[in-house]
């Protein structure tokens, strides 16, 4: 194609028709005032410049049409726009997009702040409850040693452990989980050194100057009461044994046979007690074995629930009114039972504390009980600090074998006897644990008694028989009708 070859432009058309507004303009009849025409692409479409610009502008404002805003609808050529687009405008555009980006960030940050502060509030509540539980369960003395009222003294793990306490208490009541509800109380605190308040650090320094003997910060290998760590390890076995024998006892009392099938437990969430709002969750959804017996061979979860609930969690399931429903183990989670469930879980530390206090009172009258509970007077003097022992003992000078031996001894005695902090404290936790155990046993027995009495009430039901006093005797078809009806007394009108 030579450069000389003539190429027509939009101005050379005889009739121009705007593809947008469909107005025509004949070259011999120009409109006044003149309107600008463009041919923006590679096909035959032409348009008024103003029409095309308003089309482009409106398309660019619509997200779904924006990709096609600068595209010819017929040949697909991309329109080229020329405009006065100085650096200032480009900068301002950029600035605008940055600012709107910042706006989005602020929105997201604001929303997350709201969520975070809500979450933080929940965290504070959980943590405070955890601290309360430690104080109730492990005793004030121990609490002051390893935690104190001032959160700034708390060891770092307190901020993880304490909020976990209420959560684990509640979870441990569900049949899905099994374990010592106070595990987070024990696992962390038994090995925890006393918090180093300024006052204590000063006394420790003073004492170090005074005493030269380097006694170890852990307790003796064998100790009474057993260390909390030991109790935590033994707890599952003890509960399993207890449940097995208590269930046997229960079957013996109730005269039922233990079943071996997996029970289906159905939860019916009816918080408003509204049938429409029920959500059903089937756990262990195996076909139910249908027997009319109640209370047989359930997984321990149920007993675990009963353990801490003085009123019994599911009374309706205990009564053999509807065998199918009983076999299904329908637990209606009403708003009342949910509150009882959560409340009961959170009451565990308080209940243990009460029971411990009762045991403590009783121990005043029995030296044997006092020895069993290992009641000690409150400790005097500052608690030992691990660091001190490591300072004074020339650890680095020991042989490897000796280091190993000391390490094993240290670990064993922490498991067996606990740390010195724990061992020298009045073992409030021990009498609280024993108290909780007694409480559980008592509650199970009360439950069983309730069950047994209910069963006996149902079994011994008789309907009292009455005479035909007040009935007209002539209406009765009697075996030996009286010879002289007139001699009988007249029926009295009731």
């Amino acid at each position: 194609m030579s450069e000389q070859q003539w190429v027509p432009t939009v101005d050379d058309l005889r009739v121009k028709m705007c593809y947008i507004c469909r107005e025509e303009e004949h070259h011999d009849q120009p409109v006044e005032p003149p309107v600008a025409w463009v041919h923006p692409c590679n096909c035959t479409l032409v348009a008024h410049e103003s029409c095309l610009l308003s089309w482009i502008q409106s398309s660019q404002q619509d997200a779904s049409r924006a990709p096609n805003a600068l595209k010819c609808p017929q040949c697909g050529t991309i329109y080229e726009l020329e405009s006065y687009n100085p650096r200032t405008l480009r900068f301002l555009n950029k600035l605008n997009s940055v600012v709107s980006m910042a706006g989005k960030v602020v929105t997201v940050a604001g929303v997350s702040c709201v969520i975070a502060s809500f979450g933080f509030g929940v965290y504070i509540i959980l943590t405070s409850y955890g601290a309360y539980a430690v104080q109730e369960f492990l005793g004030k003395e121990f609490f002051d040693l390893v935690l104190t009222e001032d959160p700034s003294n708390w060891p770092w793990h307190a901020f993880i452990n304490l909020p976990l306490v209420p959560v684990s208490l509640i979870i441990s009541r569900t049949p899905l989980f099994e374990g010592f509800p106070l595990v987070p109380l024990f696992l962390a605190w038994t090995t925890s050194p006393p918090v180093q308040t300024t006052e204590r650090l000063m006394t420790a320094r003073w004492r170090r100057a005074m005493t030269s003997g380097a006694d170890t910060p852990w307790g003796p290998l064998i100790n009474w009461p057993p260390s909390p760590l030991m109790v935590t390890f033994l707890y599952p076995f003890v509960t399993k044994l207890y449940r097995r024998y208590f269930r046997r006892f229960q079957h013996w009392v109730m005269g039922t046979e233990p079943s071996t099938g997996t029970t289906v437990r159905r939860y019916v969430w009816a918080l408003n007690d509204d049938r429409n709002l029920q959500v059903q969750v089937d756990v262990n959804a195996l076909p139910a074995r249908e027997e009319g017996q109640q209370q047989q061979g359930r997984p321990q979860g149920n007993e675990e629930q009963q353990e801490v609930d003085p009123n019994g969690e599911e009374q309706e399931a205990e009564l053999p009114q509807d065998p199918a429903a009983v076999a299904e183990r329908t637990i209606r989670v009403t708003s009342a039972s949910l509150g009882r469930f959560v409340g009961g879980a959170l009451l565990i530390p308080k209940i243990s504390n009460w029971m411990g206090a009762i045991l403590f009172r009783l121990s005043k009258y029995s030296p044997l009980l006092r020895r069993f509970l290992a009641i000690r007077p409150p400790r005097t003097g500052a608690p030992e600090v691990f660091g001190k022992w490591f300072d004074s003992q020339p650890w680095s000078q020991m042989s490897v074998a000796r280091q190993l031996g000391v390490g094993v001894h240290m670990a064993l005695s922490v498991v067996g006897g606990g740390t010195k902090t724990f061992a020298e404290c009045d073992p409030v936790w021990w009498r609280n644990s024993v108290g909780l155990g007694i409480f559980v046993l008592a509650k199970d027995c009360v439950n069983l008694l309730h069950l047994y009495l209910t069963k006996r009430e149902i079994e011994t039901r008789r309907v009292k028989s009455r005479s035909f006093e007040g009935v007209d005797i002539k209406e009765l078809d009697l075996l030996n009708p009286p010879q002289n009806p007139a001699a009988l007394p007249l029926p009295t009108v009731a």
Binding site: I20, C21, E23, D62, R65, P67, N68, P73, Q74
Partner: protein, 156 residues
């Protein structure tokens, strides 16, 4: 006179002088707000013998803004049973949304919809018909349709 009226006047004149394509008839165009056209698929198709009516609603920005187009559903007309046509007459077609261009016209839309019906293989409603119809706005332009190759889905 607004741009839309001038443009529609042109289209109307064109229809009256050149006529409409086969199967398309202008039913009513008394003003420049609402037009009705009837639509029929000629030849062999799933819709043989069925006649549908289309309602066009124009706003003053037409043709910069697309017309609102839907099938008439009343005593006389029904919406065609088609995977892109909801039972309330709303149509999921890209040319009525993001693909609209001023180069199109009322007749061009009719022809596109006619060929959409003609190429239909299976007479059925969109999969989300019930959900959409229950919440659909009166004006189909307020629906943001998501265009797929085969199925359509609407987000009112």
């Amino acid at each position: 006179m607004a741009v839309s009226s001038r443009r529609l006047q042109k289209e109307l004149t064109e229809i009256k002088t050149a006529g409409t394509p086969c199967g398309i008839t202008l039913l009513k165009a008394d003003d420049f707000q609402t037009w009705f056209l009837s639509l029929e698929v000629l030849g062999e198709s799933q819709y043989k013998g069925e006649v549908f009516a289309l309602m066009f609603r124009f706003d003053p920005q037409y043709p910069i803004s697309a017309p609102a187009v839907q099938f008439v559903v009343d005593d006389k007309y029904k919406a065609p049973l088609h995977p892109h046509v909801y039972s309330n007459g709303h149509i999921c077609a890209s040319i009525l949304g993001g693909e609209w261009s001023p180069v199109l016209s009322v007749i061009a839309v009719c022809i596109t919809l006619q060929s959409m019906l003609a190429s239909c293989k299976e007479k059925k409603r969109p999969p989300d018909n019930d959900r959409y119809v229950a919440h659909a706005p009166d004006n189909p332009k307020k629906t943001r349709f998501v265009y797929h190759e085969s199925d359509s889905a609407a987000a009112p």
